[in-house]
């Protein structure tokens, strides 16, 4: 694809938007996994395992892993899309779907469906 006018290619911005979607869905997935089993919930207690935020509990693991997924996916996507003009509409819709799923999975009536 070519840029509609003499502007920079949109790949890096598509990468930033998609990474936010990845971070959101990963957060939602770990919120659900925390409900699925006590072993997974224990794993997510990064405050106990790594001293990350004393007393925070499983939330420490959920948000740390979501932020890592966000940063790593942004770096990978940025490298892959740098200098490229992509179908921004498609990338944005995909990003929006990921963000929407993230919102949904963090909603208590939804994630409690998976509670063990």
């Amino acid at each position: 694809m070519t840029a509609p006018t003499d502007t920079k290619p949109n790949g890096p911005v598509a990468a930033a938007f998609a990474a936010a979607g990845v971070g959101s869905i990963v957060l939602g997935i770990f919120v659900v996994l925390n409900e699925v089993s006590e072993d997974l919930s224990r794993f997510l207690r990064f405050d106990d395992s790594f001293g990350l935020g004393s007393g925070v509990g499983p939330l420490s693991g959920k948000v740390t892993l979501a932020v890592i997924a966000y940063v790593v996916s942004w770096a990978i996507l940025h490298a892959a899309l740098r200098g490229k003009e992509v179908n921004f509409r498609a990338w944005f819709i995909a990003s929006l779907a990921l963000v929407g799923a993230g919102f949904l999975l963090t909603f208590p009536p939804v994630f409690r469906i998976f509670a063990s």
Binding site: V13, L52, G53, G55, F92, F103, T106
Partner: protein, 182 residues
């Protein structure tokens, strides 16, 4: 008339950072919406773009600061465990343990089981969305006026970031009223 250290901190977390977030959102949204070539002269675009970058960047930074301080400083105070032997059905014994105070009574349990459980998670979506918007403004600068697709997408993400932070902020205020961190 005094505030404890924890109350002062919750004011900083909720009121100071929250107010900054609201201001940055209002300015950023207006700036994004009106950043169109047909609305502005070239001089107007050049004058407005740095302000838009400032607004969106402040919103992103404030969103990160709010979730980091909320999760790693205030949240442990909220979920502190009462000493063994404490009667978990006696609200008077639980004033220093907000989570347990809310759960002690049926009429307040929902503030933890629904409001806090949603707030503590959904808030983290806001900074990721706000950062994507700030990056788009940083990357394109004045050229954003000619990229309607990116600008519209940025507006959607910006509003969603505000919605996520709004849920967290609103519930935070209600929870603090029902069971303040002392």
């Amino acid at each position: 008339m005094e505030l404890t250290e924890r109350e002062l901190y919750t004011v900083l977390h909720g009121l100071v950072l929250g107010t900054l977030f609201l201001l940055a959102f209002g300015g950023g949204l207006a700036g994004l919406y009106s950043l169109r070539e047909r609305y502005l002269t070239p001089e107007g675009l050049r004058e407005r773009t740095p302000r838009l970058l400032l607004g969106t960047s402040v919103m992103a930074v404030v969103a990160w600061l709010t979730v980091l301080t909320g999760t790693f400083i205030a949240y442990p105070w909220y979920r502190a465990t009462p000493p063994e032997g404490t009667n978990l059905e006696d609200p008077a014994a639980l004033v220093d343990y907000p989570r347990y105070l809310l759960l002690a009574q049926e009429k307040t349990a929902g503030w933890h089981e629904f409001a806090m459980e949603w707030k503590e998670h959904v808030a983290w979506i806001a900074p990721m969305l706000a950062t994507a918007v700030a990056f788009a403004v940083l990357y394109y600068g004045i050229q954003l006026a000619r990229r309607g697709d990116v600008r519209n997408a940025a507006i959607v993400f910006f509003v969603l970031a505000f919605a996520a932070a709004g849920v967290a902020g609103l519930f935070g205020a209600f929870i603090t009223k029902a069971a303040p961190v002392m």
